[in-house]
Amino acid sequence: MNVALNLVAVRTIIRKEMIRVLRIWVQTIVPPAITMTLYFIIFGNLIGRRIGSMGGFDYMQYIAPGLIMMSVITTSYGNVVSSFFGAKFSRHIEEMLISPMSNATIIVGHVSGGVLRGLLVGLVVTVVALFFTRLEVAHPLIMISIVLLSSIVFSLAGFINAVFAKKFDDISIVPTFVLTPLTYLGGVFYSISMLPEFWQNVSRANPILYMVNAFRYGILGTSDISIGHAYVILVVFVVLLFSACVWLMRKGIGIRE
């Protein structure tokens, strides 16, 4: 593989993705900020005052990491699925497919775009959160590594969704029927210790629970799950999903006739 060629190519895809994100910033950056502001006002401020504290923290503080992570996850997924499916739909994906860059480069470029947009939105939501509550980062390296790995996982998942999607409806099915329920049930708004044991065990099958809790541990220093488990799960997901993406590209499923 020509490393220099692929480095220029991956940089080109990332640049193209960032130009797209920044050109339509009203659609890509602002909506998550507004949504999360409403969450902070309604759940954190109005309802949270009645709830009091959770896990030893003010409720607003407790949900802030989960809301940041939720915005990162949905944005990373949405960016890659819409960008790659858009390229498939208008067929300018062929620009990349006929070029000598490797399949891995195409995947890494798009996933990097998703991660960068996810982190950008996460940063904006963090700034919004700071208007409502005080956040002191307990474990900065854990916080950064977890948000990065989670963003990569969902960017890769978005890529797979885009590969299989045949029409625009197909790119909204997974976010609506899988991602959103898993996120809401992933401990963003509550500690699973509040649930009966059976539901606690069910919750442990939800990978988003590990991401939200590990991220919360990075910021607040508290978690319902083992941080080690979270890292193992995230790394396994990254490896499995990346391998699946490479395999799909190599086979040309959903891309080549």
């Binding site: 020509n2 193209k16 797209r20 000598p100 040309g252």
Partner: protein, 311 residues
């Protein structure tokens, strides 16, 4: 050196449609090659396989000696493609589209900037470089696709109906430009429905029909197969009746234009001698239909008739 070698290439789509039935094709480096065929003949499928946009069912493809099975990266580096359908990012600028393509081939920085300017100027789109591509006319979009395909300066350029929807003035300037890059060493494979375009540009021709190559020869050799040609002669005075010419069929198109059909055993000198003997002066002469078009229709029709007879 061979620019493209295709051996026993076949493609059967999932629905069972056999688009290519084991075609063989060799394009020498430096050729300007026409790949012609009716709609659905398999041209675009063959191009799709060469450019790795379509998975083949069988056979081998080599681009400048690089197999697409074992050395795909090198094979792709040699290839530029202008596809039949517009496949531009309609939300990106003209400049970015060409610049991104340069990046996909590993060209960055100053080299990419110079190439983008060079090829956008060549297709007369440099002034539109900051415009979003969807605001371009159909012809401009085609020219943009040509600039995009050329930015990495491929050794083999495949043009799948590149001038469809392009006005005649721009088309002629594109022909001149394609001749120029071919003369500079780029091998070009052209598919087009404008057969005068293929006749004017290409030195070699293959005709593909129903997934098989039914003709593959030099353009001049193929055109010699045309047994009969019809010429339209403009006369300097009106004729009241059709002149009888020995060995030629004649009829009046109008009172100042005469149509003459010439067989293989006659030549134009003979025609002019007979016309002169009758005091008929010819002002100008042209083929009634494009020669290649005529030949193309005959070859394809003959093949279909033969197939029907067998059935």
């Amino acid at each position: 050196m061979r620019a493209l070698t295709i051996k026993n290439l076949s493609k059967t789509y999932k629905q069972g449609n056999q688009a290519l039935k084991g075609i063989d094709l060799v394009v020498e480096a430096g050729e300007f090659y026409a790949l012609l065929g009716p709609n659905g003949a398999g041209k675009t499928t063959a191009i799709g396989i060469i450019s790795s946009l379509v998975n083949k069912s069988g056979g081998e493809v080599e681009i400048f000696g690089h197999s697409i099975d074992t050395d795909l990266e090198a094979a792709k580096s040699c290839l530029g493609l202008v596809p039949q359908e517009i496949n531009l990012n309609l939300w990106d600028t003209v400049g970015n589209i060409v610049s991104n393509q340069a990046g996909y081939y590993g060209l960055g920085g100053e080299v990419a900037r110079r190439r983008v300017e060079k090829y956008l100027r060549a297709v007369q789109l440099w002034d539109r470089r900051n415009d979003i591509s969807r605001t371009l006319s159909g012809g401009m979009k085609r020219r943009l696709m040509i600039a995009r395909a050329l930015v990495h300066e491929p050794r083999l350029l495949i043009l799948d109906e590149p001038t469809a929807g392009v006005d005649i003035e721009i088309r002629r300037s594109m022909w001149d430009y394609l001749r120029k890059i071919n003369a500079a060493g780029t091998t070009i494979i052209l598919t087009t429905h404008y057969l005068e375009e293929a006749e004017s540009l290409c030195r070699r021709i293959a005709i593909i029909d129903e997934g098989k190559i039914i003709e593959d020869a030099k353009m001049s050799t193929v055109l010699r197969k045309l047994q009969r040609e019809v010429f339209v002669l403009s006369l300097d005075h009106q004729l009241s009746e059709v002149p009888r010419l020995d060995g030629f069929q004649t009829w009046l198109r109008d009172d100042c234009e005469l149509e003459v059909e010439k067989g293989p055993d006659r030549d134009l000198n003979d025609l002019f001698e007979q016309l002169s003997a009758k005091g008929i002066k010819v002002v100008s002469l042209r083929n009634k239909t494009n020669r290649l078009e005529e030949l193309f229709m005959r070859i394809v029709e003959n093949k279909h008739n033969a197939a029907e007879n067998v059935a």
